[in-house]
Every structure is written in C-alpha cells, then in structure tokens.
C-alpha cells in the first residue's frame, strides 16, 4: 500500500477504477435489502470518483505529457495485456464528464427511483456502469479499452432492461446488447488486425506509429475500418442505430446517462482516443464521414415524427452522434470532442427534464404531458427549453459553440455536400426539438386520440407526492446544475481548445488542417447561416405547433408514406426483424437443429438400431431346428477348408 500513498495521482486514478466496482459488489452481496445504505454507498463511491477526477484534471492540467501507469493483467507468451491508466488531456476531460454526469444522474435517481422495488439493484448497476465507463476512459491500451467497452455494454444491458418484468424492456436490453455486440466483433477483429500488423496495442504507441507511417497503410485502413465497426455499434451509427431509441425502455435517468456521457459516448470517445490512428487512413475517414452523415440525417427525420418525448431525444442523440462522427471524420478532433462534451451536458439535461415530466404524468407521450399541464412545472420546463435551445445550436448556449466548430470543420472539407448536410441537420434539429417544446407548452385538445400511443408510464410504481417534496428537489437540483453548465460551457471553448490541443504536435497538424478554413469571412457567413437555419427551424416549428391556430400535425402529415417511413425508422427494424426471424431462426437455426436431430442424432440412433436389427437378423442363424444348425457348422468348416486351400 505504500506506493499508493506516495503517488496521489495514482491513488486518485485507482479510486476511479475500483471504488464503483467495490460499491457494486458490496451492494449486490450485502445491502440489497437496505435501500438507503445502497444508495449511500453508490453515491459516496461516485462522489469520490468525481473528486478524484477533478483532482486529476486540476493536477495534470499542465502536465507536459500523458501520465501512464501499467501492470500486466495477463501475460501469455509474448503477448502482454496490461491493466493501467493513461491520464492525458482527453481522458481526463472525459473522466470528469463521466463522473459529473454519473454523479448528477445518481443524485437525480434518488428522487426518480424512490419507491422502486429494485432500488438497490439500480444503484449497483449504476456503479457498474460508472466503473466500466471510467476505467474504459483511462485505458492505456486497446484491449483494456475493449474489455471495459464490453462491460459498458453489459451495464447498459442491465439498466435498459431494468424493468425486466416488462417484455419490451428486456427486449430492448437484448437488442442493445446484441447489436452492439455485432459492432464489437468488428472492433475485436480490428484489434487483432492491429496486433498482427503492428504488434503493440498501447494507444499512445499506436497513434504515434500511425502518424509516423510506421504501420503499413493497408493495416491502418483495415483496422481502422474494423474498429470503426465498434463505434458504429456503440454510438448507434447507421446501420446499427435502432437499438438506441429502444433503449429508453430503461428508467429515464439511465437514458440520460446512456445518451450523454457513457454508453454512446464511448464510441465517439474511442474514435477520438485513437484519432491520429484513424487520421492516418483517409479511406477510413471517408467511410466514417459518410456513415456519420447518413446517421445524422436519418435520425433527424425519425425524430420529426415521433410523439414519445424520450424517443425524440433518443433520435436526437443519434443524430448528434452523427455530427460528432462527421466532425472527427473530417479531421475536427477538437470539434468532435467539444461537441461530445457539450452534448453530454445538454442531453443529460433534456433527459432528466423529461424524466421529471414522465415521473409526474406517468406517460411518455408529449401531447399527454402537454394536456396534463406540463408547462406548470416551471423548473423542468425552463431547463428543458434551455436544453432544446442548446441542442438547436442557439447562441449563447453550449450547443451553439460546438455546432459552430463542427460546421467550421465541415466547411473546411473541399466537398461542400457534407457542409450542406450538416446545415440541413441543424435545421431539422431545431425543428424537431422545438416541435416537442411547443407541443408541451401549448397543448391542444383536438389532437386527442389522433394517435393512440402506447403508454410507457410507470404506473405500477408511481406515487403521489407534493411537487416540492424532497423527491422533486433531488431531481430538480441536478437539472438546474446541468442547465447552468449548458448555459456557460460554451464560453470556455477557447480554454478547452487550448487545453486539449496542447496535447501534442501530432494533433495540432490535423487540427490546423481541419479548422484553418473556418476563419475569416467565410466563418461569419457560416455562423450566420447556421444560426439562421436553426432559428428558421424554430420558427417553422412555431408555425406548425406553437401558434394559436397551429394544427400541431406537422407538414409530414401531408405525406403519409414519408411519415410512415420516418416513423418506422426507415424500416430498418423490419429488416433486422426479418434477418433474425428468417435468416437466423428459420434459416440457420432451423437447418442446424434439423440436422442435429435428423442427420447426426438420427445417424447415431440409426447405427444403434442397425446394430440391434442386425442382431435380430443374425439370430436367425441360430434356428431351433437342430439340423439347420448342423448345416451351419459343417458349412463353416467347409468354408474354413476352402479358405485354407485358396
């Protein structure tokens, strides 16, 4: 233990990498029956982590280079899989984000989950989630990253399916796990490709080697693409994006966590983690850019038609993740990470606010909430509006700055189509987010019954309590804190940029290329057009949903086919359903099962039956008639003679 005490940095990092796990173990093993104790343990663990993270951020803010600790986790022949901590600017930033969001969500959950029978379990899983995510963030090697990446998946599976008695919840959990697993296969193969082609899985050495072109380009491209599959799965990019909207089956705080700082952020984080490696392969970057763009646009269209409040935010998450991938893929390292940061804040805010509404009205349908008097809940309403503004990219909220950064990067791309797509995305973002806000703010009776949306409320564990009880405040405070962060975070853009890009010359190069074109006059044109598009989106939403005479139907109602396409997620789920039902179940499974029963087992049983049958046949040799037997014997002797003679 001595070496711990000597090195406070190490101690802090270790705290992040162990305490939540211990909290989970203790809760699951000992304190399942004691709800308060469980919450206290979990909260204190995450508080410690938060403090450690902040401490680390403060201490190592000006450190010249990354601080790295490693121990061999396993050693097999010449392969060493280390466990350790890589503390550099990016990981520290992310660590802090995760800790903050996780902390706030856990506080919020004190209110939201109060009275739930699975309260202790909930906190155990929350701890697991936090632990996995934080340890992943500070992983020094790809394998450790992969390991905790998987654990993040596990934790989100558990939390999404938290209301396991609800079929749809467990279904959503399963879907999330399997779909991300699909991407992870690629990730895993990508790691092996790196291992085979380069031999070292340390993140720093990978990045350096790729930048210095020490790795064969083919290997870089191949492994980047494979690793990007992991990002596709985890960050819900096209074509594996449909699990994320379903993932809101979990408790709302979980969605907040999942959509902001942990699960989906993991993908983008990993991409930025090995950004120099990615950047070394233009082909991979192009693919990533395309996929990010497609994702962003598809998700935006989906968000425009749904009435489920959480689903809107879920689609918006997907679309924002698309933005981040676009930014990273066009070389905008800072823009991507910055958007990740701001997004973490305002998306958590949005979800937590929605959570309050859902908690209050026991429904997910925004029209129901509106009719129920959602506007009367002032704090969440205001905060949600703040969040929506940030999402739409309105000055001076954090989303504005990060989105501008992304636009700047996209503008730097010689092919302007990406920029146009980005601007279109910004428009749609503003439209769908304010569609939601307006629908809650200005409820319409006549829309009643327009669409019988399945209620996802939590009637079975609802409870009546005053709006201003402790429960409410436990939820309100985190929301307000987040709203505050959202308001001010944008102004720290320069500081953050300085902080992040001070990291290394390698990153500078990439960034300079990406952001260079953003300055000057073009920059202001871009800025103006983006903001005006966002405002246009808001106005459009006002026109259709906000004003007194608005039908609150949306222009898409006029194109039922398109609306159906959007509402059905471009039939992607149908495709997967078909894939699972017909290819997996009816195809392979059925085939193999029949093969197993009929051919293999049938063959074995057939051999057995044949043996018994031939016994029956052979027994005819032993007839009851004495002389037949004698004939057999004599014939046998004769055959033996013949055998000898011949």
């Amino acid at each position: 233990m001595m070496w711990f005490a000597k090195d406070p940095v190490l101690m802090a990092a270790s705290a992040c990498a162990t305490l939540p796990f211990l909290a989970m173990a203790v809760i699951l093993i000992f304190t399942r029956q004691h709800r308060r104790v469980s919450a206290a343990i979990s909260l204190s663990a995450i508080t410690m982590c938060l403090l450690s993270a902040v401490y680390l951020l403060m201490t190592l803010r000006h450190a010249p280079g990354p601080v790295q600790y490693q121990w061999a986790w396993i050693i097999s022949s010449d392969m060493i899989i280390p466990f350790g901590f890589l503390l550099d600017r990016l990981s520290l930033l992310m660590l802090t984000i995760v800790a903050v969001i996780a902390f706030l969500v856990q506080v919020y959950s004190l209110g939201y989950m109060a009275g739930d029978p699975g309260f202790s379990r909930y906190y155990a899983f929350q701890s697991l989630f936090a632990w996995a995510m934080m340890t992943m963030v500070i992983a020094p090697g790809m394998l450790q990253l992969y390991i905790f990446w998987e654990l993040v998946g596990l934790a989100s599976y558990l939390l999404i399916g938290f209301y396991y008695e609800k079929w749809s919840a467990s279904q959503a959990g399963k879907k999330a796990f399997v779909m991300t697993r699909l991407g992870d296969i690629g990730f895993f193969l990508g790691i092996i490709a790196v291992l085979l082609g380069f031999g070292d899985l340390g993140i720093l050495s990978m990045n350096e080697a790729a930048q210095a072109h020490k790795i064969a380009p083919f290997v870089v491209t191949l492994s980047s693409l494979l690793i990007f599959c992991g990002v596709v799965g985890k960050s819900a990019q096209f074509p594996l994006l449909t699990w994320l909207p379903d993932a809101m089956e979990g408790p709302t705080p979980v969605s907040a966590l999942l959509h902001s700082a942990t699960m989906v952020a993991a993908g983008v984080y990993m991409m930025s983690r090995i950004f120099p490696f990615f950047a070394a392969s233009p082909d991979a970057m192009a693919v990533a850019l395309a996929i990010g763009t497609i994702t962003m646009l598809l998700a935006s269209t989906m968000a425009m038609v749904t009435h489920d409040i959480k689903q809107v935010w879920a689609y918006s998450t997907v679309s924002q993740l698309g933005f981040m991938v676009m930014a990273l893929a066009s070389g905008g390292y800072f823009a991507g990470v910055f958007h990740l940061t701001t997004h973490a804040g305002f998306k958590a805010l949005l979800f937590l606010c929605s959570g309050i509404f859902i908690h209050e009205f026991h429904t997910n349908d925004m029209r129901e909430i509106g009719r129920g008097g959602g506007r009367k809940l002032t704090i969440p309403m205001v905060c949600m509006t703040v969040g929506a503004l940030a999402l739409a990219g309105i000055f001076p909220l954090s989303g504005f700055f990060s989105k501008e950064a992304i636009m700047g990067v996209l503008a730097g791309n010689p092919n302007k189509i990406w920029l146009l797509a980005g601007l279109l995305g910004a428009l749609m973002t503003a439209y769908y987010s304010f569609r939601l806000i307006f629908m809650i703010l200005f409820p319409r009776e006549q829309t009643h019954g327009a669409e019988a949306h399945g209620s996802h409320g939590h009637d079975d564990h609802g409870h009546e309590e005053g709006h201003h009880g402790a429960t409410f405040w436990a939820m309100a405070w985190p929301v307000m804190i987040l709203a505050g962060i959202t308001l001010v975070l944008g102004f720290f853009q320069k500081e953050l940029e300085h902080y992040l890009l001070g990291a290394g010359p390698a990153l500078h190069g990439a960034e300079a290329h990406g952001e260079g074109a953003g300055h000057g006059l073009g920059h202001y044109v871009l800025l103006f057009s983006a903001v005006s598009l966002a405002l246009g989106g808001i106005v459009w939403a006002w026109f259709e949903f906000g004003r007194k005479k608005a039908t609150q139907e949306g222009f898409l109602r006029r194109y039922p086919k398109v609306e159906a396409l959007f509402a059905n997620r471009w039939y992607m789920d149908h495709f997967y359903r078909w894939l699972v039902d017909y290819v997996v179940y009816c195809g392979f499974t059925n085939l193999f099962t029949r093969n197993d029963r009929r051919v293999i087992d049938g063959g074995i049983d057939g051999i057995c039956r044949f043996t018994v049958g031939s016994g029956r046949v052979a027994s005819f040799l032993q007839s009851g008639m004495l002389q037949y037997n004698l004939v057999l014997m004599v014939a046998g002797a004769g055959a033996l003679v013949l055998f000898f003679v011949l």
Partner: protein
C-alpha cells in the same frame, strides 16, 4: 513310482468320482449330506491342485505333459468346480434322487478336463475330450422338470457327436500326413504340408473339434440352447470350468504351431472377429439371462482367441489371464442368477427388477461382474482385454483391436440392459425374496474383492500367466 505323483489331482478326482458313484448306488441319500461331502471334496481337490502346481514331467509314454501351464489350468478347473459345487446348496434344477449322480458326473468331467489340459497326444486328447463331453451330455438332460428345455440335451449331444466325429476324421488325416500322434512332432512337420488339401482338411476338422468345445462361431450352435436348457448349476459349470479346459487346449495346440503359418493366423482372425460380432449382436436381443450369457461367452471366446492368435508369449499369457478373469466374472454372474432363481427356473432379465433392494450385495456383484465382462476398469475383465489387445497390437493387428473394442461397446449395451434391470426397474409383480445365506455372502464379497483386486493389481497374476505359458515351446 514317483511319477504317479504327477497325476495326483487327477487321481483325486477319480477318487471323488468313486465316492459319489458309491453314493449313487445308495437308495436314499440326503442331498444336504451329499452337498457337504461335495463341497469338502471339491475344496480338497482345489487344495490338491494348488499343491501340485509346481510339478513337472511326462507321463504315459510322453503323451501326458505336466507343467506349470497345465497345472495352472488344473487349478482354474478345480476352482471352477469348487465354485460350482458351492452354489449347489439349492440344487432344485436336478431331481433330488439324482444328486449323487450329478456330483459323480461333475467329478468325472473335471477329471477329463484335467486330462485334456495335459494331453499332448492325439488319442489322449480325443479320449479326454470325449470323456468330458459325455459327462456333460448326461448332465444337461438331467434337468428336473425340463419341459420345453428337454430338447437341449439331444441338441448338445448331436452337435457334439458330429463335431467329435469330424474331429476324429480330421485327426485321421493328420495322422496319415504326419505319421505321428504326438502333437509336438506333428506340428513340427505340419507347416510344410499345408499345401496339401488332405492336411488342410485334417487340420481344420481337428480345430473344429476344439472350437466346438470353446464355442467359437460357427461351432457355437450348441451353446445358447444348452446354456438355456441345462440346470443353472450345470450351465455354470459349462460356462466356467469347461471353458477353461477348452481354452487351455486351444492355447496348447496353437502354441505348438509357433506361428509359422500365415493362413492359420488369418483363419483365427476371421473366426475371432466372427465370434465376437455374432455373439454380441445376437446377445442384444436376448431375454433370458442364461441365453444372453451364452452368446456373451461366444463373444468372449472371440476375445480370447485374439490373444491366442498373436502366437507370442505375451499373447498366450494374455489369453491365460483372460481365461482366469473370465472364470471369475462369469461365475459371479451365474452365482447371482442361481441365487436369484433359487428354485431352479430360468431367470429372465426382467425378473432381476428391483434386485438392488432385494439384495444389494448380489446386485453389486452382478454389476461388477457385468462391467467386468464388458471390459470396464477397474475390474479384471478390463485388464484381461487390455492385455489381449496389447498383445495383438504388438503384432500390429490394429484393425482387429478396433473391431474388438467396438464389439466391447456393443456388448456393453446388453450388459447395461441387465444392470438396468437390477438397479432401475421396479418389479412389476412381487418376486419372492432372495435368500442370501452366509456362505453366499462371503462368496460374493470374495468375488467382488477378487474382481477388483486382480483388476487393479494385475502384476502378480500377469507374471503368473507369463510363467505358465513360458513352458509352452
């Protein structure tokens, strides 16, 4: 004459036969007393045989060879006889008036088989063989209230008589070709004569006689009917002691050929494969335990033949070990059968149902014995098979060994059916309780220990069988 001491065991059984002959002349003899006499005499006979193990020499103008090999088998035969007599306490399978005759025939048969083991001259072999056969011919139809089994006696007799006629005809040709009746000499010249059809016919027909005794396919045909039709104790005797003599004879006869004839080996390979396969296949569908064991004995003759056909010291030794193992395991099975069916009826497999409750000890003995027969360690049956297959592989008969092992797997199936009956099935109707007296209990425990001890610590017994075959030329 000192030389007569070599003949002590045989003389003893002559005396024993005489005693029971006198007994059979008595008008009314208590069967319990006869049983006690028989046990005592057979016990002494065993002791005498053991005591004479180390004798060596020739008798009767060199037509009778006493060596470790023969004495070892004599001990086994005496042991088998002793065992059989031990389980005769409830001799319901035979008319009480004929018990003395039964013991008399048993003694004569034992005597004949002992002679057979030592005989190295054709006429002696023939006479010993006939003597033992005739006693068995008479014992088989002795069954009390034989009903439908009455035909087994005539079947045995007819098949046996035909086989022995064929054998003597074959012997006549061998005699004609080699001009001698001494096996050792005959075998020396025989390989050179094998291109002549007459020699071949002679050899094959002679072997047919031996194989008949050993119940190898296709000379097995008497075995199922006789096993099923004879009284339980008689079947036990045929399956144990009589098998020993047959094995010894075949080993000695083949052992003399010293493996010069490729064709002979091939012939034996074919026979052994056929025996194993046929025996095991037909055994699968049997319902009567004794009949099942008959087929299993056919299969085991095939296994034993694998050891013999290697024509190496190790091969013979393994066959000797196998024979010993077979004696013990088979006897254990039959003992259980006799005890469970103590009124002397033929036991069906399903009648074993619930045996584990009716008599756990017998059930365990049966299970171990059957696993032994199937060649499952750590019983001696496994060690026997292992040795046999090892010997075969030393000669490179890989395929033969694989066939043998597949057969062992098939055999496991029907043994498992019996075990299943004993351990799993619930009796469909109330069966009479199994009476297990102290002697049976002791015998069972001894058998169980023997089966496991010899299986786990085979070293001494392997050494013994190797020493026994070392005297073969």
């Amino acid at each position: 004459m000192m030389k007569w001491t070599l003949f002590t065991p045989e003389l003893f059984y002559v005396a024993m036969a005489a005693v029971f002959f006198v007994g059979s002349l008595q008008r009314r003899v208590d069967s319990r007393r006869l049983y006690r006499w028989a046990v005592a005499l057979a016990g002494v006979g065993l002791v005498v045989s053991v005591a004479c193990t180390r004798l060596e020499g020739f008798l009767f103008f060199d037509s009778y060879k006493v060596d470790l090999f023969s004495q070892f088998f004599k001990v086994l035969i005496a042991l088998g006889t002793f065992f059989v007599i031990l389980v005769c306490s409830e001799l319901h399978g035979i008319d009480p008036r004929k018990h003395a005759e039964f013991y008399f025939l048993l003694a004569v048969c034992t005597l004949a088989m002992m002679m057979l083991v030592s005989a190295v001259e054709l006429l002696t072999i023939y006479i010993a063989l006939e003597l033992s056969s005739y006693s068995l011919y008479l014992m088989v139809p002795m069954r009390h209230r034989a009903d439908r089994y009455v035909e087994s006696g005539i079947k045995y007799f007819m098949v046996g008589a035909t086989a022995s006629a064929m054998m003597i005809f074959g012997l006549s040709y061998l005699f004609g070709m080699t001009h001698t009746t001494y096996v050792a000499e005959m075998v020396r010249v025989l390989p050179g004569l094998l291109h002549q059809p007459a020699a071949v016919v002679g050899l094959v027909l002679t072997l047919a006689g031996f194989f008949f005794k050993q119940a190898l396919f296709p000379f097995h045909i008497w075995a199922p009917d006789v096993y099923q039709g004879a009284a339980n104790q008689v079947t036990t005797y045929i399956a144990t002691a009589s098998k020993m003599a047959a094995a010894a004879m075949v080993i000695r006869f083949v052992g003399l050929t010293t493996g010069q004839s490729e064709a002979l080996i091939q012939l034996l390979v074919v026979l052994s494969v056929l025996s194993m396969t046929f025996g095991n296949l037909v055994a699968i569908i049997q319902k009567d335990i004794k009949r099942l064991l008959a087929y299993s004995s056919i299969a085991h003759a095939g296994y034993m033949l694998i050891g013999i056909l290697c024509m190496t010291q190790r091969g013979y030794a393994s066959a000797v070990y196998y024979a010993m193992a077979y004696l013990i395991m088979n006897f254990a099975c039959f003992m259980v059968v006799i005890k469970v069916a103590d009124d002397g009826h033929n036991l069906q497999i399903k009648e074993l149902a619930g045996l584990h409750k009716r008599s756990p000890l017998l059930a365990m003995t049966l299970m171990l014995a059957l696993f032994g027969l199937a060649g499952i360690p750590p019983t001696l049956g496994f060690t026997g098979k292992f040795l046999v297959f090892a010997a075969a592989l030393e000669k490179g008969y890989l395929l033969l060994v694989i066939i043998g092992m597949i057969n062992a797997t098939i055999s496991l199936y029907y043994y498992l059916i019996v075990i299943k009956a004993a351990y799993l099935l619930e009796p469909v109707r109330e069966y009479p309780p199994v009476r297990v007296d102290t002697w049976t209990r002791i015998l069972s425990i001894v058998l169980v220990i023997a089966m496991i001890y010899v299986g786990i610590f085979p070293d001494r017994f392997v050494a013994l069988s190797e020493a026994a075959v070392a005297v073969l030329p």
